[in-house]
């Protein structure tokens, strides 16, 4: 199989509100950052793929405006997914695997600040049985968290409210080293447990911050990747799986789609030393860790993860980018990156990245 690697990664500073810039104005510095890193101009990229959502912008075909930022004239080879940019990266990866392209630019962005995110996300739900009830995203995650706390094997998975608070405290403390993070620093878990519930059993620290942000990566194949990057983050495998739409059909305490995607991506063939998990809610990290079999020796979300910055449509791509960047700088040799989409971990993508031993 053709070798494909992530050779550059960039992201914006994630902020609660970025009303002073349009989507393309927010995105463009990030695009320039990754292109500059590999010394390419926009017109020299073979394939461009993006992820975003009209429901965040409140406008139809909003992604076409962002295309101005990549120099789409004269015409370029371009595609878009109405999803997190991690899935745009998957599309670009398959394009490179076919040999039709040597390099690809993948970017995604989302501004949650113009709307009410918890209401906006209800529009992705079953329109017949669920969306008319307007159940917001935090409430659905809370149903999943309660199921985890109630599960017969809760002790085995270590799921109690203190364990949730520990995930929050660890993530936001780690984010102190991440200059792009939106929320950094945390009181110890015991103190967090004194906070009021937002939607019980979730407290505010169990939930991701709402914010605006963008991310971009450059992919390259084989020798091109070696030429563009000192230590490319080779994509050894990548897979994504989805589960039933109806929440009441699923066992919300498990994530079989994550496990299967990880298996198909080759994640279990050798241990990883770092994992970037897209777990917007603390309870979801516990579920993912178990499905992925991540032991204590694996550094999980040293970036702070989605609990420190969760720009919609970009947070999953950022997990891939952060894992790749750790390989680029020699801080990891074999990393797992995960992205999720939909309510309660409905769809999951797993990639395994490796750096050459220098």
């Amino acid at each position: 199989m053709r070798e494909v690697a992530i050779v550059a990664f960039g992201q914006s500073d994630h902020r609660r509100d970025s009303a002073e810039v349009s989507e393309v104005e927010m995105l463009m510095p990030v695009l320039h950052e990754v292109l500059d890193a590999v010394g390419l101009r926009a017109g020299e990229i073979d394939f461009t793929c993006s992820g975003s959502s009209d429901y965040l912008a409140g406008r139809a075909f909003s992604f076409t405006m962002a295309l101005d930022g990549v120099g789409a004239w004269p015409p370029i080879s371009e595609s878009h997914v109405e999803m997190d940019g991690a899935w745009a990266l998957y599309e670009a990866w398959t394009r490179l695997l076919t040999g039709e392209a040597e390099t690809a630019l993948v970017y995604s962005y989302g501004k949650s600040s113009p709307g009410d995110l918890r209401e906006v996300l209800t529009r992705q739900l079953d329109p017949y049985y669920v969306a008319p009830l307007w159940p917001d995203s935090v409430s659905l995650a809370a149903l999943q968290a309660q199921a985890l706390l109630d599960a017969e094997d809760a002790e085995d998975s270590g799921a109690d409210e203190r364990a949730l608070a520990a995930v929050a405290a660890r993530s936001r403390t780690a984010a102190e080293d991440n200059p792009h993070a939106q929320v950094t620093g945390s009181p110890p878990p015991e103190a967090l447990l004194n906070e009021p519930y937002l939607v019980r059993p979730l407290r505010r620290h169990d939930c991701p911050p709402v914010g605006d942000g963008a991310a971009a990566v450059v992919l390259a194949a084989g020798d091109t990747a070696r030429r563009l990057c000192r230590r490319p983050a080779w994509i050894r495998g990548m897979d994504h799986r989805t589960e039933a739409h109806s929440l009441g059909v699923r066992d919300l305490t498990r994530s079989p789609s994550t496990r299967l995607a990880a298996e198909r991506a080759g994640a279990f063939e050798a241990p990883v030393d770092l994992a970037e998990l897209h777990a917007p809610f603390t309870s979801q990290e516990l579920i993912l860790r178990r499905e992925l079999g991540l032991g204590e020796g694996v550094r999980v979300n040293p970036s702070g993860g989605a609990l420190a910055a969760n720009p919609m449509m970009a947070a999953g791509l950022i997990r891939l980018g952060e894992a790749a960047a750790a390989i680029h700088r020699g801080a990891a040799d074999r990393a797992l990156a995960h992205a999720t989409s939909g309510p309660c971990l409905q769809q999951n993508l797993v990639a395994v990245l490796e750096g050459d031993v220098l």
Partner: protein, 319 residues
């Protein structure tokens, strides 16, 4: 080069609202019609499980499903979440619990609201029953909510024909989302200049083209445009069409002319209506200027200046 002023952020309310009209398949039709008649229907899968709410395809095997069964209006909470501050559109306007409820006779759970006095009154495993809405139309909201119920589990799934008189065949699902639209730096500068009755474009530092209205980026070069350039007010009609359809809420007599107009100094044409001249005398190359109506924040239309027509070569790149 004029340094770009840093305008205060422009913002305006933006409401996106539409009534989605959705048709129903046979299973969904039976389920929602059943709710109207206070009859709860699930569907049996080929391996004997009862899915409630029912779907037309088995999520595991993808088999088409049509074997309808009636289940009880009572059930058991499988998980819950206490919602202390209900939001617009949610089933109850007092604090309530979101619940997944497995109705007696079903193997899967339905999402809905539970009316309970407080979180201490809710637990996984508690028994609940449906509280029906007073007025039912064949929608998931025909279940007003669930309420606590102290009866034991009972009620088997029993076969049901799924036939009703006057079945519901579709739903109208209204959706409204409220946004605060902010156009960003480039368009804010453009709109602020327009309020002073000047038109401002932005020049690309690379290809030198002047974009109007500016969007902050040159789509050819993929770089930020930031040099402010005042363009117009006069311009040239580069191409046009004659509109014969009267738009709703638009008080303009048809036929009228809608044109691409290249303002003097601009690198591309914007569009606007041409007035002050019979529609069949508008032509490519016609020189025009904006007409502002009182209090308007943008030109109402463009009218002929009386100058000789522009030479084709002066605007052929802007078509």
């Amino acid at each position: 080069m004029t340094p770009a002023p840093s305008p205060e952020v422009l913002q305006a309310p933006l409401v996106v609202e539409f009534p989605f009209t959705r048709s129903l398949g046979p299973v969904q039709s039976a389920f929602l019609t059943g709710l109207r008649e206070r009859t709860v229907l699930g569907v049996r899968t080929t391996d004997g499980r009862v899915l409630m709410p029912p779907v037309e395809y088995d999520p595991v095997t993808a088999d088409e499903l049509s074997d309808l069964v009636e289940v009880a209006p009572t059930g058991t909470v499988t998980t819950w979440a206490w919602n202390p501050s209900p939001r617009r559109g949610q089933p109850l306007d007092t604090p309530f619990a979101w619940v997944l409820v497995r109705l007696d006779g079903a193997d899967t759970a339905l999402l809905h609201a539970l009316d309970a006095p407080g979180p201490d009154a809710v637990r996984t495993g508690m028994r609940v029953r449906i509280r029906w809405a007073g007025e039912r139309v064949g929608a998931i909201t025909d279940i007003a909510c669930f309420e606590p119920y102290d009866g034991a589990e009972g009620g088997e799934a029993v076969p049901h024909s799924g036939e009703f008189t006057d079945p519901v065949t579709g739903i109208v699902a209204p959706a409204r989302l409220d946004y605060t639209y902010a156009p960003g730096r480039a368009q804010s500068r453009y709109l602020k200049a327009l309020a002073d009755r000047t038109t401002r474009g932005e020049r690309c530092p690379s290809c030198r083209k002047v974009y109007v209205p500016p969007r902050g980026a040159c789509p050819t070069c993929g770089v930020a445009t930031d040099e402010q350039v005042e363009v117009g007010p006069r311009g040239t009609v580069t191409t046009f069409c004659i509109v014969n359809i009267k738009a709703r809420n638009l008080d303009i007599e048809v036929p009228y002319v809608y044109a691409h107009i290249a303002l003097d100094g601009a690198g591309l044409a914007l569009h606007g209506r041409v007035g002050g001249i019979p529609y069949d005398q508008v032509r490519m190359g016609l020189r025009v200027e904006p007409v502002w109506s009182e209090d308007s924040r943008y030109p109402d239309h463009y009218r002929p200046t009386g100058e000789p027509d522009a030479d084709y070569d002066t605007y052929k790149e802007l078509l």
